[in-house]
């Protein structure tokens, strides 16, 4: 609550707009919660629909928390022509994530798609927890996922 208050104050002082308000919120909580939207709406006199409208317009905002590990698959054109689609559908199979979801039920993994990471010379590219895997192939990524799963279990 204190954090929300801090973010709201920053907005009140004219230092931000709805987008930066939501960006700060996501930075602090990992996603935009219903509570945050309601809180800002009452505190700042902005209709919840407007906040929700902005939150759902931009790809950056999540309404549900992400998994502990984030796999980012690039869907840029260069990656596409080098088989990104096969990697993505393979990962969906491996992680048991359906087309409309992006996170495993146990919140261990989130599979994100991005438009372009700008490292086209290493296409297809994937990020595992922010680390670049260039010239990726399904096998090595699946192996790495299995290792992460195993390490997590042992913790």
């Amino acid at each position: 609550m204190e954090i929300l208050e801090g973010i709201a104050n920053k907005y009140r002082e004219g230092e931000g707009n709805i987008i930066s308000l939501l960006q700060d919120t996501q930075e602090a909580f990992g996603c935009i919660t219903r509570e945050a939207i309601n809180y800002f709406s009452e505190e700042l006199g902005i209709p919840p629909s407007r906040l929700y409208g902005v939150a759902t317009f931009y790809a950056q905002f999540r309404l549900k928390p992400a998994g502990r590990h984030i796999i980012t698959a690039c869907c840029g054109t260069a990656c596409h022509v080098r088989g990104a689609e096969r990697i993505i559908s393979g990962l969906q199979r491996e992680l048991d994530i359906t087309e409309n979801e992006d996170t495993t039920p146990d919140r261990e993994f989130t599979l994100e798609k991005v438009a372009c990471l700008g490292t086209c010379s290493f296409a297809p590219v994937a990020l595992i927890d922010g680390n670049v895997r260039g010239k990726a192939n399904l096998d090595t990524i699946v192996k790495e996922i299995k290792k992460i799963k195993k390490d997590d279990r042992e913790k």
Binding site: G16, N17, S20, Y58, A78, C120, S121
Partner: protein
Amino acid sequence: MIVRNDIAIKICMGPAGIAAGGKAVLEAFRQELSRSDIPATLQDKCSSHQVGCLGLCARDVLVKVFINGDKTIYQYVKPGMVERIVAEHIIGGTPVQEWLVDEAYENFYKKQVKVVLADVGRVDPEDINDYIRTGGYESAREMLLERSPLDVIAEIKASGLRGRGGAGFLTGLKWELARMSGEKDKYIICNADEGDPGAFMDRAVIEGNPHSVIEGMIIGAFAVGAEKGYVYIRAEYPLAVERLKSAINQAYEAGYLGKEIFRTPVNFDVKIKLGAGAFVCGEETALIASIEGERGMPRPKPPFPVNKGLWQQPTVINNVETLANIPYIIRNGCGWYASYGTESSRGTKVFALTGKIKNTGLIEVPMGIPLKDIIYDIGGGIEGGKALKAVQTGGPSGGCIPADMLDLKVDYESLSRAGSIVGSGGMIVLDEDDCMVNMAKYFIQFTQAESCGKCVPCRVGTKRLLEMLDRITKGHGKEGDIERLERMCTGIKTSSLCGLGQTAPNPVLSTLKHFREEYEAHIRDKKCPAKACKELLTYRIREDLCKGCGACLKACPSGAITGEKKKPHKIYSDICIRCGACFEVCKFNSVERE
């Protein structure tokens, strides 16, 4: 030992350089240099620093070693190679021959002309003094102290510079229109919301030479009379954001930004605004809505932003590459810049050359260069001995240029006549394995997802287009689909509100124009000539070639393959999900695909 008193080691830290392990290489150099006490023996004249993209990303990590001005370049550098480079080259004076770049590297640069990229890869992006040493901020100083805003506008107009973001509007003219608007508060915005998949020019410029963009903004602000500037940049580019922030801070400290800059009465402030991931925000009016904190939805033009833009005030929006050109045009003169390129497309353009090409990377060429020269001389030809099929330019708003049109000149008008656009500068090379219907579907998928939903032609039109293309690639195409596609495309093109919708059908129209027979094969024969659309493929194991090794059986995720060890295996096509895993894993080429 030979006396050498000026050694600089420059390590590529562009996006690809980092992906290839640039940081580890830099760290290795730093460690190795301090361990061998070289700075001491060389009186602190040996330094290693990071620089932006060096261009030929395919050979990363690239390392340039300057000894008394003599340049040596190493390719594919790994941290393990550093010790030997330091011992034999830096200390011993003899370069390690077998790790040097080869002829292909030289050819990559031969036909390029570097203006925007001239200092990218040369200056340390995190040190303003490095930029100043190369003549940086001199153009801004000269303009502000000695010339009038109208002089600046005249100079840029005479250079013929056109907006590098895609639309190609004359930059000088845009500035003049904003200048003429009588309002007091004006804004200049640098559009760094580089959203085209397959394009990373702006990112490389900001990461490699952020001060050139800031200097361009200062000159632009002076020309139009703006006291406030914004850089609208994608949050997906964290390194670019970080370097830009530090560059802006350094420019404030140096007195190039803020109040009374360069000790003149001119004030100019620059702020960074982070985009939140919406392709449509590259469109000017949507970008303005996003800076104001709203959903990034475009509005009808006119009024144009130069008259009514941010907070209803006159606003100039220039792309990163456009602004980065400005200091160099002022420094070298408009005549020099205009001497490159063609009559209507002056100067140079940066392209991100990617796809099925040997030398992927960032290139800068004079406008009007034949496409053939880019593909074969600079790009080194097609990878893996395959045949070139087409070159896709302009991203989701552009089109495909077929292999038989390679003599085409790369400039605004010629590309537009061929049904494509220069766009922001993505150039993706496609070979015989790429299906053109699938490519069109890929781009429509992108624009459909990124359509903001405000106007019906774009929101519903792209959705229907996608459904139709999806059906065709899955073997459910119907007679008359091609005509229906064409009708839809024309409708969307002519009636959409903004550039996103107006150009969204281009990938479909251009592939229909140049590769109509591929659409026909999908629709009539239910075949994909490039063997890329998986629903139209069948996989079969050739009994005469199969050794029964079991590799495919293990690789198959759906259990569609059976067979005893050392005996030919079999694929059950009703269980097969056509993922292609068996095809890739078979060492004996016994899996057939058709």
